[in-house]
Amino acid sequence: MFDQPSNLAPQVETPVTTDHKITAENVNVHYGDTHAIKDVNVKIDDKTVTAFIGPSGCGKSTFLRCLNRMNDTIDICRVSGLIELDGEDINHAKVDPVQLRAKVGMVFQKPNPFPKSIFDNVAYGPRIHGQAANKAELDEIVEKSLRSAALWKEVKDRLHAPGTGLSGGQQQRLCIARAVATAPEVLLMDEPCSALDPIATAQVEELIDELRENFSVVIVTHSMQQAARVSQKTAFFHLGELVEFGETGQIFTNPHDSRTESYITGRIG
């Protein structure tokens, strides 16, 4: 069907940099009998926004969930291959997924604030990780996180109001604040704007751009415009394979693989 074996493509296209935050080699994921991810190789840079794009069911979310071992919670899911964070194998027997997830935060597709106050939502992570020595420090972390999620101005007078009472866009920014409160090194975002209106989406995108200064951000998105707007690197997934990975500008203007071209021009997906 295609003239070159697709799993070789990413290795060829990945630019050589020394600043890799996450390295994935030959990652395979099986859901029961379904082979969901096939031999994915990818290198994610620090302080960069990496976008995963591809049609529905292509495995981009599944792969994202491998990066903080959220797939552990699914019984029938098996992950094989090597995923390294700063050179350490995250699937190593000695690694506690809890510690990993403190380093690799996640924002989900649907805003899912806890049914608690805004303050408690943001403070939950630092509390369970013991990151604040006292109330003043905790207050500071909460304020900093809400500021970095561009939510502080809107909620500073009602920190003890329920988080679920916010609008959809505010809730998603609250979830981002919650995720950055534990000071992660990587932030995974699984279609964070799919439930938001264009204004809230613009706010979150702006936010992602700011977060890049401190974190490595990996974002799964259905919107190619969004990938083009916010990311520096883009990976295109198709039927469980990583078809193409490279600089965002190159992927969108000069894709090397015909499937990538078909997708970004709207012929598949």
Binding site: R101, A102, F108, K110, I128, T182
Partner: protein, 435 residues
Amino acid sequence: MSLYLESPRTKKRNAAERRFQSYGLAAIAAALFFLVVLLGQIIGNGSGAFIQTRLTVPVTLDAAAIEKAEGSMMKTSGYRKLIVASLSAEMQAKGIEAELDSKAAKALLSSGAPNTLRQHVLANPADIGSTVTLKLAGSSRLDGYMKGRVTRESISDDKAITPAHLDLADELIGVGLLSKGFNWGFVTGNDASDLRPEQSGMGQSVLGSLAMMLVVLAVCLPISVAASIYLEEFAPKNKLTQFIEVNISNLAAVPSIVFGILALAAFIQFGGGTIGIEAFRASAPLVGGLALSLMTLPTIIIATRAALKAVPQSMRDAALGVGASKMQAVFHHVLPLAMPGIMTGTIIGLAAALGETAPLLLIGMVAFVQTDISGATSFFTDPNVGMPAQIYIWATRADGAWYERAWGGIILLLIFLACMNIVAILLRRKFERRW
């Protein structure tokens, strides 16, 4: 076709809808009708148990007579004489000519009245030598006459009371010596022997049921919440857990009498007999509570698992995503959200346990309990009955007065249940997060 006209298809569809709604209305109306009949019957038949006929008797406590009575074998018979003498004197003073012979006294006064007097004297020795006015219970026949259950026609074959006695009762009413009042004894008292329904009360069995409910709560809530959390959140989904799940559902459908005989074998015969655990003895509320716990556990486990299942996966993901451990995710987020559902399941289980009689029959909690329970340990281990068992005992007795008491017991049982529900609703309110 005009929009103003119903097409034949629409007509049919609307008719079907109207028909369905009328079925629903009919079902609700029938349910309401039965509820009204049920409540009407219970209140109509049972309210009499809360009213007691009493004779007002100014008893002269003659020191010599009391000393003599206390010295004899049948202590109460001396007291009986005191009452009869005092009542006779009072009747004469009030101008009643009829004589109060011993047969009439027996027909009108409760056989428990002498003991009431004796208990008063023992509690207030200072009263000896003076005259105290006591309200003494009338006999069950007299009580029935006052409530309209006993009439001159209905006693034609009765050896215990004659129409002449009823005439005397009318005269006593006329001079104010005979009256009806609220029967606290029914709420606080113990069971009484076959011949003294007027002296019986539900109080003892209320304590028995309370003790059992506390045992059921203490046993079931922690076990079933722990089991549900493990099965729902931690257990691997394999053949073994599936087998356990199926069997929990099956257990919920096992007849309660099976749990009764299991409790008899496991707790009383094995635990109390073979191993020799002192507290595991027949008729003890502790054992009754454990038997009811066996029955209640599956119900609460099923409800708790449903409540845990209803918590959206996104809550778990959110907690795990910020680095909470599985246990933190469950205890900080899932369990609080499931709490109202767990409370509902628990109260349904407890209500079923409260009304259960069959297991109690098998472990001997149909005991005739005459003595009061005093200490805290004996509260759980002294022989007692449960409310439904007490009602069952009374319903098997012949006298019409017992029938009335059984209905009255049902009123108390329903009040007890209502109290339990109110507590559960208050707790649920407390746990419920409206956001």
